[in-house]
């Protein structure tokens, strides 16, 4: 599997060259949010706003009214928690094209409770006019900016930084509202997002070897969220649906699919994996994924629970044998 670094930083500079109306606004986390290359390339289009997010967001609203495209860069948690009323009144209500890039979502940061955005999707999804995206690999990190730009109105992107795996063909970018079907099977429908998709791929491959056939969707658009085809797959599945997300189980991917299932009357069980309505704490990503059940192992345990079987899949083989290779939604069998 290919691992890339500073994917957003490079794309932002390249994209910025073609979009002179785009300005980057930063709240003292410029290099931490991969906006330093843009700042160095186009210093006149970089606005340092200090540690003052409420002002930054409403200020961006003002610029957007004048025809500019403000690209907010800071940690995910500092966007929606620190400036929610400003987002709602100065950006979402007037439906302005402010594009917000929130980095280190969920338990990706060791910074503890103050730094962990665990309910950002829930909050942003509830705002009218808001579009919510969550890239899951390097290809999607590269294309999220283009989608955000082409989508009218405000967009919130739960962005990945640093080292990012490439799971999807680089010629198959993120498309608004389009899930990726990574595998097909009649037993269970699995929905994953963000960093959890890699875990889902690992678990689904290992389970396939044990005879459990899973339809696996990767979701990168959390809002809008309209998927009759997924609900139909769930209705037709043997055991129902499982969701896995780097977010609270309240208000995120699990809730979004629950809403669709309920509206369609898809009478199947749904299990939501993610942070079980709890805050987290400061520790490494791998440790927190294990502690809060966000990894392949937790997914396998959930499948064992719904099927009533035990598969004896050991951890070492999960890591070695089932690390995903390059693949695309056109070739689900290659997984």
């Amino acid at each position: 599997m290919e691992i890339l670094t500073k994917v957003h930083a490079k794309h932002l500079v390249d994209w910025g060259r073609r979009h002179p109306e785009a300005y980057v606004l930063s709240a003292d986390l410029t290099a931490s949010c991969e906006a330093d290359s843009f700042r160095d390339a186009y210093p006149d289009r970089f606005l340092s706003m200090g540690i003052a997010e409420q002002n930054m967001i409403a200020f961006a609203g003002g610029m957007a009214r004048q025809g500019f495209i403000p690209l907010i860069h800071t940690f995910a948690v500092f966007i929606y928690r620190r400036a929610l009323d400003q987002i709602a009144m100065s950006v979402a209500y007037p439906n302005l094209p402010v594009k917000m890039f929130g980095f280190l979502p969920g338990i990706l940061t060791p910074g503890g409770v103050t730094h962990q955005a665990i309910e950002d999707i829930a909050v942003m999804r509830a705002l009218p006019n808001m579009t919510v995206l969550e890239p899951g690999d390097a290809t999607e990190v590269e294309s999220a900016l283009d989608v955000a730009f082409e989508t009218p109105g405000p967009v919130y992107v739960r962005q990945l930084r640093g080292e990012v795996s490439r799971l999807f063909d680089k010629n198959e970018p993120l498309r608004l509202g389009k899930p990726r079907k990574l595998s097909s099977g009649e037993d269970i429908v699995l929905l994953t997002s963000g960093i959890c998709t890699e875990e889902g791929i690992r678990a689904a491959s290992a389970l396939l070897d044990k005879g459990v056939r899973i339809t696996h969707y990767h979701i990168s658009t959390l809002k809008p969220f309209r998927h009759p085809e997924i609900v139909e797959d769930i209705a037709n599945s043997r055991y129902g649906a499982i969701t896995l997300e780097n977010h609270s189980v309240v208000g995120g991917l699990g809730s979004a699919i629950a809403e669709l299932m309920a509206e369609a009357g898809a009478g199947k069980p749904l299990r939501r994996l993610g942070l079980q309505d709890t805050f987290a704490h400061g520790a490494s990503r791998r440790y927190l994924m294990r502690e809060y059940g966000l990894d392949a192992k937790a997914l396998i345990a959930a499948v064992e629970n719904v099927t009533g079987e035990r598969f004896a899949i050991d951890e070492a083989s999960l890591a070695e044998t089932y690390t995903p290779t390059l693949h695309s939604d056109a070739k689900p069998e290659a997984l």
Binding site: A31, S48, A52, Q54, G111, T114, A280, H281
Partner: protein, 298 residues
Amino acid sequence: MNHLERVAFGIRRRALAHTLSRNGGYLSQACSSAEIFAALYGRVLRLKKLDRPLAAGRFTGTPSHGRPTVTGADFNGAGDPSCDNFILSPAQYALVLYAALIEAGRMDEASMEAYDIDGSSVEIIGAEHSPGMEVTTGSLGQGISQASGIAMARKIRGETGRVVLMMSDGECQSGEFWEAVQAACYHRLGNMIAYVDMNGYQCDGKMTSVMNLEPFDKRLKAFGARVRRVDGHNLKRLTRLGRAPSADVPTFILCDTDPCRGMNILTERFPKFHYVRFTSPEEKAKYQKFYDTMSEVL
């Protein structure tokens, strides 16, 4: 070295030790604020005496219904009406706080073996379960508001203990900070005293290149606060101001400091001091060598 100078030296040395052991840390914050913490824990804070240094435990869960709350306030011996509260506003200074607690004999040295280890309460950026942390801060600008609320409550109850706040200069860029100053002056919270580490740098670099705060003392005075501006490495001044009688408005002690103080080696990183991560074995070896010379001094 006199006692407080030794404490300040010890804070820098311990911060460097753990930056080395974890290959990263908030080191320049220890350099700029070592004297502030030494003065606070050495002479300024009126804290309950502890029989012996406490041990930091594992992380046992976030505050929740039906779960006993583990609080870092125990290390400050909080709870007595005549004792001070100590609120650390920038939780990024947690390593400095831990080092100060050891130097003050309030936390045992062995607890630092768990620093930045998965499952430990001794986190890089602490929360209220971490040693010495009385409230959860670090979403910058919120410390002073919480401290003001505590000061208000203590004023209403007529307690003699004060609320002593340690702040960074960067966080004073936030709107909430100014809302808090406005409210604390309006409600005449003379029982609150804030030490601000004015090291002049933030994550992106020199503060004046990110967002200007000056003339900070004049701005604060215009809001109605009592303001003192001092050399933040002058232990005598820091101590004397912290022991002076309260006014009927909050007091801000603006401490002008140097983010490389006592660790000249850091100047090579200009203008980015916010977080030190060694990028090569050579660089780390250089800091290790510096650490060895520091240890010889003791």
